[in-house]
Subunit: 109 residues, 2 copies
């Protein structure tokens, strides 16, 4: 049983967080940029809270610049985690879906 895949699932198991992830896909945004993108759905401390959770799960990359912090989605980590899930829970599909050489070696059990 792999604890990391539980941590990954918990990290993305929130609608607001996935919305933030969507906005951070392929672009770097400051915290306030994200707050603005969410259009008043939640306010700044909540966004910071979610970004911290995503950072803990290594699902975002962070770059400090002056007094701002820029975040972007870590696509590689997300891909790795999904690959892990498929390998663990869909072995019959793993070979078809994920190229073997792209799968990091998993340590578990």
């Amino acid at each position: 049983m792999n604890v990391d895949s539980v941590a990954f699932a918990k990290a993305i198991a929130d609608e607001t967080r996935q919305e933030i992830m969507q906005h951070l896909c392929c672009v770097w945004l400051s915290v306030n940029d994200v707050v603005d993108k969410l259009g008043g759905k939640v306010n700044q401390p909540t966004v910071s809270h979610h970004l911290k959770k995503l950072e803990d799960a290594q699902l975002v990359l962070v770059r400090q610049e002056g007094r701002q912090r820029f975040y972007t989605l870590n696509q590689e980590q997300l891909t790795v985690c999904c690959g892990l899930l498929v390998r663990s829970f869909a072995p019959d599909y793993a070979a078809k879906v994920v190229p073997v050489d792209a799968i990091p070696v998993v340590e578990h059990e």
Copy 2:
């Protein structure tokens, strides 16, 4: 923003549930079989609760047989959900991960 990927994440965002999924991978087990496999970690009503959550997310297939209900992991649904995640949140990697036979062949141009 895709609601289904949030539902999927919530469904697998629990350690006990992932443990159950592990045991249901490639085999059919009755509820009590699962309870036994968990070796006293949780008891029967809790297992039923988790199986219902997994069933709601279509992550398990169910077969009634007499007074027993047999469950097995739905590997296809899990694969689909992971593919959805990668396409949504890792577009730069999606091309490598999506199965070749799922891509429609273009004959000309």
